[in-house]
Amino acid sequence: MCPNCTLSSPLSQKQKTIWSLIRKGFSVSTIADKLSTTRQYVNQTRLTAEAKLSTTLLEVARANDLQVMRLYPKEAILLGYHPALKRKAIVTYSTSHGIKVWYWHDNPEEVTNEDFLRQTREYLLDLAKERGIEVEDAAEMHPAKLASIIFSKLVPEVES
């Protein structure tokens, strides 16, 4: 385990860089050239990063009493269900902001905390950028709606 790794940010700097470049669509050989290393090292680091992220997502799900419905190791996303709240939940990872747990809201407009909504939008825009997703009018959209669109592109089970 790396010394700077935490539950919300489980990857080392090298793992973050490689995982992020792969998510952006770069090939293993391009990343190896970019980082002046071997393809084998890139592949090994990618696998280690995915394994670490999967373990962390499962731990976060367990800590939040979520039943795991589906885990997407490559996307670092977990789809779960909270039996007490009777709601679907999603656990996501972003290299710049770490782990977040999301719940479905019928009336997200009830949440009026401006800072919270701004941070949520920033997280989502980073998440989308990291995964090469483009959303029109993302800056003006309510974060809950934006999340819905982004998650529906990442998780087939989620409808926008």
Binding site: K88, V101, Y103, W104, H105, N107, E109, E110, K145
Partner: protein, 97 residues
């Protein structure tokens, strides 16, 4: 804007966990009292409207001629509105679970 369009355009979606989110708390803690209050209010309004229409039925011509059809039209509108609301609720429940 009709009711269906309004319901479709309402914002719904995902938000991160926040300890003081009202919709989460209400679902978790106060669901039963809220439904009870809603049923009470609807029953009171229906009783009041029924009483007024019953009392004024003769002067409004609701018990004879074309006026009799007003009852059928009102009942029809109520059934359609209730069906739309129930279906919307069911969709929301499906999305949630």
């Amino acid at each position: 804007m009709n009711l269906l369009r309004y319901l479709e355009n309402r914002i719904k979606g995902w938000l991160p966990k926040e300890p003081n989110v009202p919709s989460c708390q209400r679902t978790h803690n106060h669901k039963a009292p809220k439904i009870g209050i809603q049923i009470g209010i609807v029953t009171f309004i229906m009783g009041f409207v029924g009483g007024v229409l019953g009392a004024m039925g003769y002067s409004l011509g609701l018990f004879f001629g074309v006026g009799v059809y007003v009852w059928l039209i009102v009942i029809g509108i109520v059934i359609v509105a209730a069906t739309i609301l129930i279906r919307t609720k069911q969709k929301k429940e499906q999305q949630r679970s």
